[in-house]
Amino acid sequence: MGSAISELPSRRTPLADAAETGLKIVIVGGFGVGKTTLVRSVSEIRPLNTEEVMTQAGVGVDETSGVAAKTTTTVAFDFGRISLNERMVLYLFGAPGQERFWFLWDRLFSGTLGAVVLVDTRRMDDSWYAIDRLEHHRTPFVVAVNRFDDDTAGYSLDEIRQALALPERVPLIDCDARLRQSGKDVLITLVDHLYELAMAQEMTP
């Protein structure tokens, strides 16, 4: 399978042949909060877009019709990727956080390491549902505040924690989704948090 003849230069950089473990982190947040920007700033590939088709029953293509199909819902999401080493590759998914899209979240993102909730302080209400849902599922997460230039209110992290009723144990940080280093810091904060949780769990018999 090693032949490179058919590989056009435009093709995406392939993974290492030794790649064997795919991992997932979900970036969730309201419209325009900076999900795609964050994915782009840390991804080794240009963010790609894909979609899932859903029906009421949660099965893909409608069985009974094919022609006069009842309405299916297509939900688009984008993703990027980071090769962590020769064997491990991390995928980052940007997912809409609104209530009506969580059926997608439940289905697509099972097995995720954890989540980043991106918050825009000008529209804090958009974050409520995501946080609530993650806690309900006991999916570990961190909250990153994407500070926009015209965010004049300048709430402190403490004020934001209060406004979101976020427990102390959930890490809360500032970020600028446009900056690679900042995006990296968000991911490291999440995985650090996961590591602590895993250690604590492994200590308890």
């Binding site: 997932k24 840390v42 293509v61 094919g66 570990p140 490291i188």
Partner: protein
């Protein structure tokens, strides 16, 4: 384009999958797929494209993006290829349930990889 929309094209999906609707749930979004043979003449074009793409390990979600097909449809196509022995799948070893954590050794490796970016 990035916004979730309400259309979909059931006709096309129906054709590609031969009318089947049950996806193979074994294929996670980040399952890495590797071709075990070259595409052959007369093969369904989507099958051939997948074999072409997966000369190097390729995640299910990347196959879907590249083929511009929904994940569900790609899972069905991958199920076909797996049954024919034309691909192998490297499944994620992270916990499959939403509530359970992966082990600390794996997380340490992830941290190390992120810090070295």
């Amino acid at each position: 384009m990035r916004r979730p929309v309400d259309t979909g094209d059931p006709d096309r999906l129906y054709t590609v999958t031969g009318g089947r609707s049950r996806a193979d749930d074994d294929f996670d979004l980040v399952t890495l797929v590797v071709s075990e043979s070259e595409p052959t003449a007369g093969m369904q074009s989507e099958h051939a494209r997948i074999l072409d793409l997966c000369r190097h390990p390729t995640a299910v979600v990347e196959i879907a993006a590249e083929l511009k097909l929904p994940i569900t449809v790609v899972r069905i196509l991958l199920g076909d290829l797996l049954a024919m022995g034309r691909i192998t799948a490297r499944h994620p070893r992270a916990a499959q349930s939403l509530a359970s954590l992966p082990d600390s050794a794996l997380l340490k490796e992830v941290l190390h990889g992120l810090r070295n970016l």
